[in-house]
């Protein structure tokens, strides 16, 4: 029993943090707000070189062969830096999705390209109704010649505008299936969906009878359900890690600020009204840390309670990050409401992730289902 990071994990965290402190300063995040692609190629290349893009993939696939705990460590740091770019979309949604569901050939092709920084990927898990239950998928896939014809509307597809491949769930005659779609293929229309977090990008993705080959199916037709459930859990835990990082940054900025901001002739951090709020924020961040890394470990280790732990993680951290980030604006007072002050970068990142892969309410229902089916 050891619930603490190994030396290697601490080393990884420190190296990710120092790289992002150097190359992903708030100025960089802001510079990407108006960038058509929304991320820096130089940093992307650097991330490939540092091994982050292939972190959870095998060495044969050009990856580092590390696990979900390490991936969570990297994502926490990305939340802390409000990293603008398709890392989560590519490595978690696309990469882990292909790793979970793909054939050997599909993994060979895509995971090594992702690891090398040569391909970006994402997954289109959400439709108009916003139900994260994969079983609610409406998009359709019909057999056409030797391939498939896909139709449907996907919403909030992260970083689709720069992706080389999108994982698209669709309902085939055999049942729920997962397809690899090139977003530049004819019949695919991408429309930007601009949220409050300008450092995250979403698209609406319309599929109008688009054609894909037989080799575009991930796994067997009709058998995508379990892989999508697994991917949803991984997405939920990794999004929680990123929210945790954003919340930590908000807390750190708050503590630093209330030590120096003076009112009534003394630092506002000396007032219990502020100090107690900061203490509650730390409590939430610490509990969120436990929830994230327990769940990441449980998924990686295939623990019996992994599914439940993932839901507990997303439910807890969604609430905790909302409280910590919201309170950080409050203890800052007016300055925290200005565009020029950086706090909103992190607060908005956490907010953007809060409803993704199931919000707290969605996961609490799953938790109770786990509890009631267990007996």
């Amino acid at each position: 029993m050891n619930f603490s990071f190994t030396d290697d994990q601490i080393l990884l965290r420190n190296s990710v943090r120092s790289a992002l402190d150097e190359q992903c300063k708030p100025e960089h995040v802001r510079a990407m707000f108006d960038d058509p692609r929304g991320y820096g190629e130089a940093l992307w290349g650097e991330m490939a070189k540092l091994g982050w893009l292939g972190l959870p993939f095998t060495e044969e696939q050009g990856g580092a062969g590390l696990g979900l705990v390490e991936l969570a460590i990297v994502l926490e740091e990305m939340g802390r830096a409000a990293y603008p770019g398709p890392f989560f979309a590519t490595v978690v949604l696309g990469g882990l999705g292909i790793q979970l569901a793909g054939s050997a050939a599909q993994k060979d092709r895509w995971l090594s390209a992702i690891s090398a920084g040569k391909a970006r990927a994402t997954a289109a898990l959400l439709e108009e109704h916003l139900d994260w239950d994969p079983a609610s998928t409406i998009a359709t896939a019909a057999r056409e010649g030797s391939g498939w014809k896909l139709s449907g509307v996907k919403r909030f597809v992260p970083w689709a505008h720069v992706a080389d491949v999108v994982l698209v769930p669709a309902r085939a005659p055999e049942g729920l299936s997962l397809f690899l779609v090139d977003p530049k293929s004819p019949g695919v229309t991408l429309l930007p969906m601009v949220g409050i977090d300008l450092a995250s990008r979403w698209s609406e993705m319309r599929l109008d009878k688009i054609m894909v080959g037989a080799d575009a199916v991930l796994g067997a037709p009709g058998a995508a359900g379990p892989a999508l459930d697994s991917l949803l859990r991984r997405g939920a835990v990794m999004a929680s890690a990123e929210m945790l990082g954003a919340a930590r940054r908000c807390l750190d900025m708050s503590v630093a600020y209330v030590k120096v901001r003076e009112q009534f002739g003394q630092p506002v951090g000396s007032f219990q009204a502020i100090r107690h709020r900061c203490s509650e924020m730390l409590l939430e961040a610490e509990n969120a840390h436990a929830a994230v890394y327990y769940a990441a470990w449980a998924l990686a280790a295939g623990a019996e309670d992994a599914g439940q732990a993932a839901s507990i993680c997303k439910a807890y951290v969604s609430d905790a990050a909302r409280k910590v980030c919201g309170d950080s604006v409050q203890v800052h007072g007016g300055i925290g409401f200005t565009w020029e002050y950086d706090l909103h970068l992190y607060m908005k990142r956490a907010k953007a992730l809060e409803p993704l892969f199931g919000d707290a309410e969605f996961h609490r229902e799953l938790i109770v289902r786990h509890l009631t089916s267990a007996r």
């Binding site: 029993m1 107690h276 409590l283 507990i312 229902e365």
Partner: protein
Amino acid sequence: MDLNYTPEDLAFRKQVRAWLEQNLPKDVSTLEERRAWHRKLYDAGYLGMGWPKEYGGGGARPMEQAIVADEMARANAPAPTNGLGLGIVGPTIVVHGTEAQKTRYLKKILTAEELWCQLYSEPNAGSDLAALRTSAVEAGDHFVVNGQKIWTSGGAIADWGLLLARTDTKVPKHKGISCFLMNMRQPGVDVRPLKQITGSSEFCEVFMTNARVEKSDQIGKLGEGWAIAQTTLGYERGGRALARVTTYSSQFNRLMEAARRLRRHGKPLLENPVVRQKLGRIWSEIEVERYQALRTLTQLERGEHPGAGGSITKLSYSEFEKRFMELALEILGPYGQLTKGAPQDFALDIDTAIGERGSWAYAYLWSRAGTIYAGSSEIQKNVIGERILGLPKETRADRGGGKA
């Protein structure tokens, strides 16, 4: 990071579970029965496990201590008596006591031959404990103690008390306090039960009128009492982390069962989405407490002391417990308020450490105490703010010298 238990820990757990199955007493209600149960636990090596071997302890690892406490919670085993002796007084004597004090007192704490209480809080010294006024005045080979203590748990059965008293009124209040071991069985000590909102009396008031404390029973130097008390408060946390969560889990399971049977608008409460959300939230919090317990145990296993981090733990579980019990009473409706006559399905059978069987109502009322005793939530937040976050101290009227 590896959250699996080692084979040794699993084997040890199995051994403890088997022992409890063999030895769990049917009924423990009188003090003598509880003492006998305590003694049995000690003889089996399950009490004073973390104490040094030379003083009769087991020199066990924190994980082994946590496993024993956890298995006892799982078996709904009665608590040993002398909790304060084991948890606070003993460790204080081990760290700060003289060899003579160690020889005289420690073994009898472990065997429950002598029961202990803690004489800290006073009517006007609660959160501001350093404002205590009970005085100890030197008189040759002893001290003469006058004053009043309150919230003394186990005071009515205690043979001895760990006392904080003021020995110097001319220095700043934190510097004029000293620590003593006081015999409770003497004419100058009057113990009166304090009836709480639970209707029971786990606590007492203690009145000292020219009570006598031997000089040989002074702990540490004069004026070091406050510093010693700071370290003793630290022993109250950590080891029970897993056991606490196991108790929550078994209570939660009882609540789930009740939610299956109770109905609203013609349907089981457990099918009500609002109730499901609330249950899901509480279960998440119980699990997060468990994850945090594993983090704490990891620290303890490495020989690290959680320090001010203990304040985060205490704040977290005590505030959680109130939310949990509020939900329990919401779901159980008037059943939750019953102190007698609750049907089996809607009753909670817990050990209250005072010889009465518990109830949901008792657990609910008791949850209000947790955010007040051993440093209120407000005090914990001050500690977290100042010692962990490094926030500036507030301007206080009592930072200077003068008597308290």
